[in-house]
């Protein structure tokens, strides 16, 4: 029996904690994120039964589009807010002391966050004001601003092996690879003909990057030869909203899409679709794979539900 967690607002993003196997953070926004409040939930999987408990929830003035756990502090998480600010929360402090910080520099909504998994001290924010900002927890101002995209930046992802390299996916249909030591982007991959909503690096091959786009496809690119994709994964019925490479399996990646399904892919195999879960009844917008527990995955959608299940089992099983 797989547990379900019902959020009062529409879900936007879910992330496993890199410190606690059973802990997740969920970003939600009222009224589908168009206008209204938001809430960050920190939830915990009960060991005894298939129950999810909410540890703490933080209310925000505007919708929360993304959330990321700190890699250095086990109780700290950052949230991307639709009013352009980034809130830092510390679950070890009493709820009245939260948020600990509010970093407001972006001019438009902050859509994506990613914490550096190798250096563990910095994180990036991707915003609809076409820019990406680099932050650390100890400074109130951003360290760097990367402004080259011509349209909203939807997602950023750190390279799992090279601590200074990251990629950004944007609505201008390109993916840019950046190096924080360089002033500008180092590579531009014109990956799709439509907006690119998400990108992620392969954890075991640092030159492979996957992009998910509004054109319903997921393309895997090798940055050494980026003119032609390594693989194209078709199968979603609508735009693919988020993808994530598995931290445990080299070739596995998971994606969620506006066709309400969460799909598992093995891109090295000819028939790449390995699994499909259609437990959501609205757009599936957030998906994550646990770094600590092999095969554990979570997804959330606009149907206000968060599912956590083990790969191979039915998330709605009871």
């Amino acid at each position: 029996m797989m547990p379900v967690f019902k959020t009062p607002f529409n879900g936007y993003s879910v992330r496993f904690s890199p410190f606690y196997e059973s802990r997740l953070a969920v970003a939600t926004a009222q009224n589908f994120g168009i206008l209204g409040n938001g809430r960050v939930h920190v939830i915990d999987l009960a060991p005894t039964g298939p129950v999810i408990n909410e540890l703490v929830a933080f209310d925000t003035a505007d919708g929360v589009y993304d959330v990321a756990w700190s890699e250095s502090h086990d109780s700290v998480l950052v949230a991307a807010i639709a009013d352009g600010s980034i809130k830092v929360y510390d679950t070890a402090l009493p709820p009245q002391s939260n948020p600990v910080r509010s970093l407001k520099e972006h001019a438009r909504e902050v859509h994506g966050l990613d914490y550096n998994p190798t250096r563990r001290d910095s994180f990036l924010s991707a915003s609809w004001d076409d820019s990406i900002k680099l932050w650390t927890l100890d400074r109130p101002a951003s360290l760097r601003t990367f402004r080259e995209h011509a349209y909203c930046v939807y997602s950023v992802a750190w390279n799992p092996k090279h601590a200074d390299v990251f990629a950004s996916a944007s609505g201008d249909c390109t993916v840019r690879i950046w190096d924080v030591r360089e002033p500008g982007s180092t590579m531009i991959i014109p990956g799709h003909e439509h907006e690119i909503l998400s990108c992620d690096w392969n954890k075991y091959d640092e030159c492979l990057i996957a992009t998910a786009s509004v054109d319903k496809s997921i393309k895997i690119w090798d940055v050494r030869n980026y003119r032609v994709p390594v693989s194209v994964l078709n199968g979603h019925g609508y735009a693919v909203r988020k993808i994530k490479f598995s931290p445990h399996r080299r070739n596995l990646l998971v994606s969620c899409s506006y066709d309400m399904t969460v799909c598992l892919w093995d891109f090295m195999v000819e028939d790449a679709l390995v699994g499909r879960y259609d437990h959501h009844t609205e757009f599936a917008v957030g998906v994550d794979l646990s770094v600590l527990v092999d095969g554990l995955m979570a997804s959330t959608g606009w149907d206000e539900l968060v599912y956590v299940w083990q790969q191979g089992m039915d998330p709605r099983a009871s």
């Binding site: 005894t48 039964g49 502090h73 509010s102 609505g171 531009i188």
Partner: protein, 698 residues
């Protein structure tokens, strides 16, 4: 960038081409130097463009950028367009460098745009720009012609241009004011005068000051009377431009069409009158709001004030059905109403200088880092009682009561579960007395538990005070061990490990636990990777198309099919004669070769079982088969040109996948199909012969 191509050569293009030719030679040397410079500057970084600049792309980009309509758009959109066409940064920069300076026109909008394109403006054009008055046409012509003639004389021309401005300032002030108001006419005049100046340049080798003054006065005086002529010519030039940039405009139009049809489909779907702008107009919307002049090449048709971008754009045919309540909310907000459930929330930090709490757990190495070798994990501060304190956290107490000692979400199916459990329990036991010396891989939530009796050697080995060489050497040994691991040989491996421990040098307890854990982890993950693609525990969607099994007939040793060919039997004999360690190496080696894990697992097992049982029976059976009426078809050779056709044929009657069929055909002469009747065999032979191969029946 062949798409924005084939402008008919006309006077408008002559100038930029001439410029580019003149400049190109000068730049040739620089261009050669530049790629080398960049390569030296960033040694061996995979994430950097290492392609040389493609001249054809650059020249296409130059033609694109020289177009006046393009000139009117913000630089960022020009760059974005070129990037989408696949140009690299260097190529785009080169194209911007080559495009002749845009005339410093009188529009404040384009002034700011020129300011952005820093690579475009050269020194002498900036001088006129800085003058408070927008320039009349004459100095424009002079300036651009001067630049074309010789770069080194730019200063002289700049000075002369400024002087001319001062001289003709009062006389042309009125005229300019007349011109400012109809912005369009001015733009056209610039176009027209560029054409004039092309001819002017050709005639005058080195225009003298007097000539320039005369030309300036003439042009300034004739400016007012040219307005009517200009508007007529504007229409003509417009037609030409439309022809030249048909594809470019079609691109925009196509987008607009998509947006329109999407709006129609939305209307149809939801039956709502006013849902047009929201969900799709983001692209055009954004650009329409950004570019202030009519010259923007995005036909922003829908004008909305609601923040664009909140829903992602979609191609018209694939707009997902948004939830009904979503559309209702959108409508409400577009009308200006606020949904009722929003409340005022103060989410500002109560204490902006609040200290973050100290981290209680050290960061763990990521699974991909652990596999690639031990890394130096950044040690963040841990509190002294890091281990014990974790009991406080409610999330960690769960293991105490569970009889299987793992939480429900960790229980996996079948063997993976058991292995995982064993590992964690062992790890738990080994961590019971852990010190803080090597905290890089901590499972701090695992309470101490005695290891199961089944592994006495491991427990014994771990408890003994051990010694070992440096951990890196241990890792290498473990890596070797890893490939030899087999699911059924846990005890063998542990014996090997304990032997390793006992023969090693000095090792304190902590490192041995580390090593033990890493062994289990690596072994675990190794054959987990082997097992991952067993689909028995992944529920297949019943609606999905049935999986096409790609196992060729002669890999299946089970009846009722005929037994494997001689070659396979021999292979199986060899394999069964191997030692256990070597047998364990077959798996990964084959996996590398075949890159098809599904097939590989079956093959290994099949060969295992088949060789022992069928070694004897197989030999007998093949003899029998030869006497009977079944036949084999063997592909002798094939025409190299017809290889693809042969592969297709082979695929057709062996049901192999593309890669397998290709490998098979390349190995010719090779057995294609066994155990078929004479008619089928001859039919197969005919088909292969038809495609250009040679097949033999036996």
């Amino acid at each position: 960038m062949a798409t924005t191509q084939s402008p008919s050569p006309n006077s408008n293009d002559d100038k930029p081409q001439a410029v580019s030719e003149v400049v190109q030679q000068a730049n040739q040397v620089q261009q050669d130097v530049r790629p080398e410079a960049t390569k030296q500057g960033v040694p061996a970084s995979v994430f950097v463009n290492s392609e040389p600049i493609r001249e054809d792309q650059v020249s296409n980009a130059v033609k694109f950028l020289s177009h006046p309509k393009v000139r009117g758009s913000p630089v960022i959109y020009r760059r974005s367009f070129l990037e989408k066409k696949g140009l690299t940064k260097e190529e785009i920069d080169e194209a911007f460098r080559r495009v002749p300076d845009p005339s410093p026109s009188s529009q404040p909008a384009s002034l700011s745009q020129d300011g952005q394109a820093n690579s475009l403006s050269s020194v002498q054009t900036q001088a006129p720009i800085q003058t408070p008055q927008p320039l009349p046409a004459a100095p424009t012509g002079i300036v651009s012609s001067g630049r074309v003639a010789r770069r080194q004389f730019q200063w002289y021309h700049a000075v002369s241009a400024v002087g001319l401005l001062a001289a003709s300032g009062c006389g042309t002030a009125l005229l300019i004011k007349k011109v400012i108001i109809p912005k369009l006419k001015l733009w056209v005049r610039k176009v027209v005068l560029e054409e004039d100046n092309v001819y002017a340049k050709k005639i005058d080798a080195k225009p003298s000051l007097a000539e320039e003054a005369a030309a300036a006065a003439k042009a300034a005086a004739a400016a007012a009377s040219d307005v009517a002529k200009a508007s007529q010519e504007m229409l003509n030039s417009k037609n030409e431009e439309r022809r030249r940039f048909e594809e470019f405009m079609n691109l925009m139009d196509a987008q607009v069409q998509e947006m329109k049809s999407m709006s129609n489909s939305i209307r149809k779907l939801e039956g709502q009158a006013n849902s047009s702008g929201r969900a799709f107009s983001d692209h055009d919307d954004h650009r329409a709001s950004a570019s202030s002049t009519k010259q923007s090449y995005a036909n922003g048709n829908v004008d909305l004030n609601v923040q664009p971008g909140r829903t992602s754009t979609l191609p018209a045919s694939a707009e997902p059905p948004h939830p009904k309540s979503f559309m209702e909310k959108m409508e409400m907000i577009q009308r200006g109403e606020k949904p009722s459930n929003i409340r005022e929330v103060n989410d500002m930090p109560p204490n902006p200088n609040q200290q973050l709490s100290n981290p209680r757990i050290t960061p763990r190495t990521k699974p991909w880092e652990a596999q690639n070798g031990p890394r130096q994990v950044l040690q963040s501060q841990t509190s002294a009682e890091g281990l014990n304190q974790n009991g406080v956290d409610s999330g960690l107490n769960y293991l105490v009561d569970d009889e299987s000692s793992t939480p429900w979400w960790q229980r996996k199916n079948v063997r993976i579960t058991e292995i995982e459990n064993e590992d964690e329990v062992k790890a738990a036991g080994s961590y019971g007395v852990k010190t803080n010396e090597q905290p890089s891989v901590q499972r701090t939530w695992v309470p101490p538990q005695p290891p199961p009796v089944a592994m006495p050697e491991a427990a014994e080995a771990i408890r003994r005070p051990k010694s070992a060489p440096k951990e890196t050497a241990m890792q290498e040994q473990l890596a070797d061990e890893q490939s030899a691991a087999r699911p059924s040989e846990v005890t063998d491996e542990l014996q090997r490990i304990t032997k390793m421990f006992s023969t090693a040098g000095k090792l304190n307890k902590v490192s041995s636990y580390q090593v033990a854990l890493k062994v289990f982890k690596t072994r675990d993950t190794f054959y987990l990777r082997v097992r991952t693609f067993q689909h028995d525990f992944v529920p297949r969607d019943p609606k999905a198309k049935p999986k096409k099994l790609k196992y060729p007939q002669f890999y299946d040793p089970y009846g009722p099919r005929p037994p494997p060919s001689d070659k396979i039997v021999e292979l199986a004999d060899c394999i069964s004669a191997l030692s256990p360690e070597e047998r364990g190496q077959i798996g990964p080696t084959l996996m590398e070769r075949l890159r098809h894990p599904k097939m590989q697992t079956i093959t290994v097992e099949g060969m295992e079982l088949g060789s022992q049982g069928g070694a004897g029976a197989g030999a007998a059976k093949t003899e029998e088969k030869k006497e009977k009426t079944t036949f084999d078809v063997k592909l002798e050779k094939f025409d190299a040109a017809a290889k693809i056709k042969v592969i297709k044929e082979v695929r057709a009657f062996t049901n192999l996948g593309l890669k397998e069929a290709k490998d098979l055909v390349e190995k010719a002469p090779v057995m294609l199909k066994q155990g078929v009747t004479k008619e089928e065999a001859s039919d197969i032979m005919e088909r292969i012969k038809a495609t250009g191969g040679v097949a033999v029946m036996e």
